[in-house]
């Protein structure tokens, strides 16, 4: 690790200060202040349509807020120049809800893509690294397949391998278990947990899957109506007696 990185390791992974984002008249993210620590898995929970995905896109600079500031890995996302922002994004990996794999490229080429195009790694090294990554996500045999010939769970694993390709400090997950059957969801949860423990990276997961959050989360937050309703260590959140938190966690209507 370089000196600069060690210094910035003191700062939170993602820090939002009084951030507001509107779509039309509706504030999807409403005056949110939030600080996500490094080296842990943080899960942001919340019902669909409460701005969880928007939060991720604000953290990466894919969306711009109307008010407030966002610091990711110590960089001021909306004060940064374009090339600084691009460099920041290379220190992050992102798993999209529908994986966003390149449909015309094989599994191997998908995972190799950031290595070849961003780092311009030499081909033997690309081969070694991709094999290592596919091993990591448990798909060593499927390098030649096209994405649409894979099952949902396998696609998610490829997406994780691709997101990890540039050895990111921070990995963002957008609904990693949505659309998967319970068993596959459980295996993806296990994969996320194992990977985080082994590599000690910062993982931020957006989900409405409470069971999944119970397995992977170190810290948890609940987002309701565009506001952070509660944030803290998982045990604290799970033990909360707040009626809206209980209603969400126990999956009661209301």
């Amino acid at each position: 690790m370089t000196v600069a990185n060690e210094q910035s390791a003191q700062t939170p992974a993602i820090e939002l200060r009084a951030v507001t984002k509107r779509f039309g008249p509706r504030a999807v993210v409403d005056d949110v202040t939030l600080s996500i620590q490094r080296g842990r898995t943080t899960v942001i929970l919340g019902p669909s349509g409460t701005g969880k995905s928007t939060l991720l896109r604000l953290a990466t600079g894919l969306l711009e807020p109307e008010a407030g500031s966002v610091h990711t890995l110590g960089v001021d996302v909306f004060g940064a120049k374009k090339h600084e922002l691009l460099r920041l994004r290379r220190r992050m990996g992102m798993l999209f809800q529908d994986n966003a794999l390149f449909g015309s490229l094989s599994v191997f080429d998908n995972v190799a893509f950031p290595l070849r195009r961003v780092q311009r790694t030499a081909e033997p090294e690309v081969r070694r690294r991709v094999d290592e990554l596919l091993q990591l996500v448990g798909l060593p045999e499927l390098g030649d397949r096209l994405p649409d010939r894979l099952s949902g769970g396998q696609r998610k694993r490829v997406a994780l391998a691709r997101a990890m390709a540039l050895s990111p400090e921070l990995v963002l997950f957008d609904e990693p278990t949505s659309g998967l059957d319970p068993q596959t969801s459980a295996s993806i949860d296990q994969l996320i947990k194992d990977t985080q423990t082994r590599l000690g990276l910062t993982f931020v997961v957006i989900t409405h899957d409470i069971e999944s959050a119970g397995i992977i989360a170190d810290d948890a937050g609940l987002l309701l109506d565009g506001k952070v309703h509660l944030f803290g260590p998982r045990a604290t959140v799970w033990a909360s007696q707040d009626p809206r938190v209980r209603a969400f966690l126990e999956r009661r209507a209301g």
């Binding site: 894919l62 460099r87 994004r89 992102m94 999209f96 966003a100 449909g103 893509f113 195009r117």
Partner: protein
């Protein structure tokens, strides 16, 4: 949000940014593949459309000229009007409906399935990686399509003149070519480059902007790319002809 009044400026602004992206070194392999793909996909359409259009022009010219006993002159009209205006215009139309629609729907599908965001998250610029190679492909394919259009249009006229109207083979060729000069070929080249650029910019723009989401958005992008591409093709054809030929009137 962008104020409504600035919307007409979006396309020129995009054209500038896309042109600048070309200078920033798009991936060579993708560009070569796209150039050949665009040419191979558009050429058959151009050839078929222009062959029948040449044939149609000949029938129409013959019908107009027959009452004056000037049937043999029909080749002249086809050669003159076809090479100067009709064939380049149709080449642009074919390019817009084949390649323009394809590029727009492809890019929009990549946007809807978040592949474009995935590129941005890797710190890559979609403008350099996706738009620039496609724009280059269109600019290269433009003149190729225009020349193919001229040749197949003239052949269409020749076939009809010779077999349907019974005009002597060499006489038909001679009248077809009598109104075509080297200058017209240069104009064809210029038109090809401009039409390719226009079609490419419109298609990439419609493929990149956020309009409707989901599968309907993909179809809508293809739709807008074709229609707006065709409109701009017509306007730039008129503009170029008026600029170039208008001076010699």
């Amino acid at each position: 949000m962008i104020p409504q009044v600035l919307l007409p400026l979006m396309l020129p602004a995009f054209a500038l940014r896309a042109t600048a992206a070309i200078l920033r070194g798009p991936p060579l392999k993708d560009t070569v593949l796209l150039v050949s793909r665009v040419i191979l996909r558009s050429l058959p359409v151009v050839v078929i459309i222009c062959f029948f259009c040449g044939a149609m022009l000949t029938v129409q010219a013959a019908a107009s000229l027959a009452p004056f006993g000037a049937l043999r002159m029909s080749g002249l009209i086809v050669g003159f009007g076809g090479v100067r205006e009709v064939f380049p215009l149709l080449a642009g139309g074919a390019l817009a409906s084949r390649t323009g629609a394809e590029i727009a729907s492809q890019l929009q599908a990549m946007r809807v399935t978040r592949q474009v965001e995935a590129l941005e998250m890797m710190g890559l610029d979609p403008l350099v990686l996706l738009v620039a190679p496609r724009l280059i492909a269109c600019v290269v394919a433009g003149p190729v399509c225009v020349f193919a259009a001229m040749v197949s249009g003239l052949v269409g006229g020749q076939v009809i003149g010779q077999f349907q109207l019974g005009i002597d083979r060499s006489a038909m060729w001679a009248t077809l070519l009598s109104a075509v000069g080297v200058g017209d070929l240069v104009v064809g080249l210029i038109k090809g480059v401009v039409l390719g650029f226009v079609v490419g910019v419109v298609a990439c723009y419609e493929g990149s902007i956020v309009a409707e989401g989901g599968a309907r958005g993909v179809g809508a992008a293809a739709n807008r790319a074709v229609v707006r591409g065709m409109v701009l093709v017509c306007l730039s054809c008129l503009g170029l002809s008026a600029l170039i030929y208008g001076r010699f009137l």
